[in-house]
Symmetry: C3
Subunit: 356 residues, 3 copies
């Protein structure tokens, strides 16, 4: 379906994003693309200044830019305060989100008679729903999903193929879990007895809040006792793993391959970039920002941005990085000083000899 730019300019304010249109209001667009790839029938956007040059060469029919962005005269633009939020709204308007076709093969799923399945749930072939499980309304369970005993899923959850939920776990409403992710496996809990490891029963659960989205092939340990928690609104990328008993606050964002040990407390709205590692039993304050590949061995206070392994506040970390690069120079300086000091010493000693 095609939309005139006028129609989009009329739409954005209805979702809280005032904008102004400069150029041909009747031009039609039917898709969204990057500045590089966009064709005249598509709308694009500039959010990252790194791509500013592409404004010169883009074939896009229109571009969403910030209110003060200089643009070539020929361009038709929609100006908005936050172009990234505005293009997101346009994408939702034009494309919507993934539609989950109603399956006709639910009779090949294996559903325990004691399970309670909500209205309009969409359970594909090869799915297992075990004893005493509760599944909310409109839930989509793709093929190969396994839900163990006593687990509960809220309404409107989507579990992509081969997701596994161990026994007793609780998912809120609108939880999306991408393919291959495992929720509630046993954590690494063993008591050392001599040189062997004696398994500690892992009797806790995992609790996941509303509107959480988890990427592919992640693994979230159940708690040894009590709960491992992923609070509402939090988003994970792929291959993230969370240790037993760890609690992640609301609206956090973890990039791929983050790994958090057990018994950690992470506050609200914490961002962790790719491959961050967090040692056990730490506390990470609200709104902390953890740079890529950081290794956390100490608590992080609220609002602080850290980087490095071991992590330090980002300014220190960047200074350390650059000073380490300048170490060859420092070594040279010290060597020169040693030579100078030795020469001075000889000069002073010679003078003293003269005087004797």
């Amino acid at each position: 379906m095609a939309y005139s730019l006028r129609a989009l300019a009329d739409y954005l304010p209805t979702v809280g994003m005032p904008c102004t249109l400069h150029g041909d209001a009747e031009r039609q667009v039917d898709g969204v693309a990057t500045l590089e790839d966009a064709e005249p029938s598509e709308i694009s956007f500039l959010a990252n200044p790194k791509y500013e040059k592409a404004l010169e060469t883009t074939s896009a029919g229109a571009v969403i830019v910030s209110n003060d962005q200089p643009i070539p005269d020929r361009l038709t633009v929609l100006r908005a305060a936050d172009p990234y939020a505005a293009i997101t709204a346009v994408m939702v308007h034009i494309y919507g989100y993934r539609r989950h076709g109603k399956t006709e093969i639910g009779d090949r799923a294996v559903i325990h008679p004691s399970a309670v399945i909500g209205e309009n749930a969409n359970i594909h072939h090869g799915v297992t729903v075990s004893a005493n499980v509760t599944i909310g309304k409109n839930v989509v369970l793709y093929p190969g999903v396994y839900i163990a005993e006593d687990s509960r899923l809220g309404d409107d959850c989507v579990l992509y193929p081969n997701v596994v939920i161990y026994d007793g776990c609780i998912l809120g409403n609108r939880v999306s879990i991408h393919a291959g992710t495992v929720i509630g496996e046993d954590g690494l809990g063993y008591a050392p007895i001599g040189e062997t490891w004696h398994k500690i029963p892992q009797i806790g659960i995992v609790e996941i809040g509303d509107d959480v989205e988890i990427g592919a092939n992640c693994a979230i340990d159940r708690a040894t006792l009590g709960r491992t928690v992923i609070a509402k609104g939090t988003k994970f990328s792929n291959l993230v793993t969370i240790g037993h008993g760890t609690k992640i606050g609301e609206h956090c964002m973890f990039v791929a391959q983050v790994g958090i040990a057990g018994s950690v407390n992470v506050g609200k709205h914490v961002t962790m970039a790719g491959k961050v590692g967090v040692a056990g039993h730490l506390t990470i304050g609200d709104n902390a920002q953890i740079g890529a590949m950081s290794g956390l061995m100490k608590d992080v206070p609220p609002g602080v941005a850290v980087l490095g392994s071991p992590a330090t506040p980002i300014k220190n970390a960047l200074r350390s990085f650059s000073l380490v690069e300048r170490l060859p120079n420092l070594h040279k300086q010290v060597k020169q000083l040693e030579a100078q000091v030795e020469a001075l010493q000889r000069a002073v000693d010679a003078r003293a000899d003269e005087k004797q």
Copy 2:
């Protein structure tokens, strides 16, 4: 089921853990919880001194503590030499381990006629057991498990949903593998021919010893030739990967996201914390301890603890970390020295001029 503290105090010595009870021996507990979460009907424990303060405020009905731990008068305690081992024993006593319900849907599994299945094996729907596979007694194969040709599983193994065992692999007795883990995929074996990569057939296998437990979404490469080995009693967390031909000794413990390249020899009882990386063809000695996020580029002798990337003995590593943090100060010191030496030089030169 509830247990009196007297009953627990009588039980622990029967599993090799003498203890003494201080307080109300008739008090009943029916569960185990952390100091923070425990209710009066639950028993808790103090093993990590970090949580000592919680003794003041806990509502637990009783707490297992070490023999010399100071405690508030009001607390009922069981004193034991190793509180962590003691609470583990109590947990096993009260809860036991996960029970695997006998499935009634085995007729939906696909089992090759040449496969040999042990007594009382519990094979769920959607499982594949291929030609010439041998499955031991009491083995549990959850839905989606795939066992390729010629593989052999010992007795009492548990493979959680969607575990995949490639062809020809050998698992001992009592091996537990959590959901999504893959055993025996081809390693990254290619001969470079010009700019292209020519695949080397991966004809070896993976052999896993008795009592090994492997977390979720791990990947263990088969050997190019011979065997990749995970020896008995070793435990892995999630997202661990082991390269082709690597041999891991007995009773090792690897935390999540450890990655070991090919042809590595790891001794017995080696611990690797989260995200450790090990380069190919190295030897890691018995009882070595590898700190979180370490990168190993050299062999590690037996019994040595290392840290850092590249890893060095832990004392050096911690000193390097702190010296790097002090680099700004060192730069300042060198700058001052340069100024001082220059001033001295001027003074000495001036004196020399005077004398001429």
Copy 3:
């Protein structure tokens, strides 16, 4: 099947690898093994000088070595310019690659009527082939594989158990994907609105070129707009993840646990060792070589080898590593200099006092 050494010496030149045979040409070998494990009926090879000593003790019936390798007199050897390429050719000759048994249980797969399935495709039980999917000739889909709507697979692809392909993705010919890997899940695309994250529809796809092989439990994000690309001939090990919109060139080789953020451009024939991390929007030039555990925060020019986190050219990185190790010494030198300079200052001051 057994082969005489003469037969192997005759075979290698036919695949472009001239060789010379020294020793008993009629000796028969029926397998390939490492120098350490090989028996008299097996042929071995020496490619890594680290294992040269094993030539003294090997029981192998013959060994492939380089043209100038000194050898014990007793050994029967095949000399070739590239022993690694030669043993690869011998392995392919003796063993071939994994054979994929024709399944007889395809009637338990779920194949949408609109899907187009090529000749001789081998679709196992529990597989899902969704609407409008195209599957090429001779494709093997193992149990638990899920192919979402509108995806296209070329000829001769092999998807191991539980591989998931999201909607609209395109695979070339001869693509191999190991168990548990997920292709085309949504990337981590959210617009921040206040403290919450607003999901950006991920409407792009993943396109994978001919002859790509991907390890187990990887995750390749679909593009937000356009395509995430893995170009032809590229090989990944396990647990690799690629962010949305990233483009990987031809004939790259990525070791396990590499993680690349979104919108990255990686050139041709780039190698990344284990656990490398790459920040978003970077450009990595053709033939770049990225050392293990490196963290890339800047572009890498073509042909450059980098190491470290943050990564620098490998010479600098190794020098920095060694200078960091020598920091305790540098601190000591600076302390000594300070003492010497203070003493000199006192001496010079004293002289000045004398003169007054």
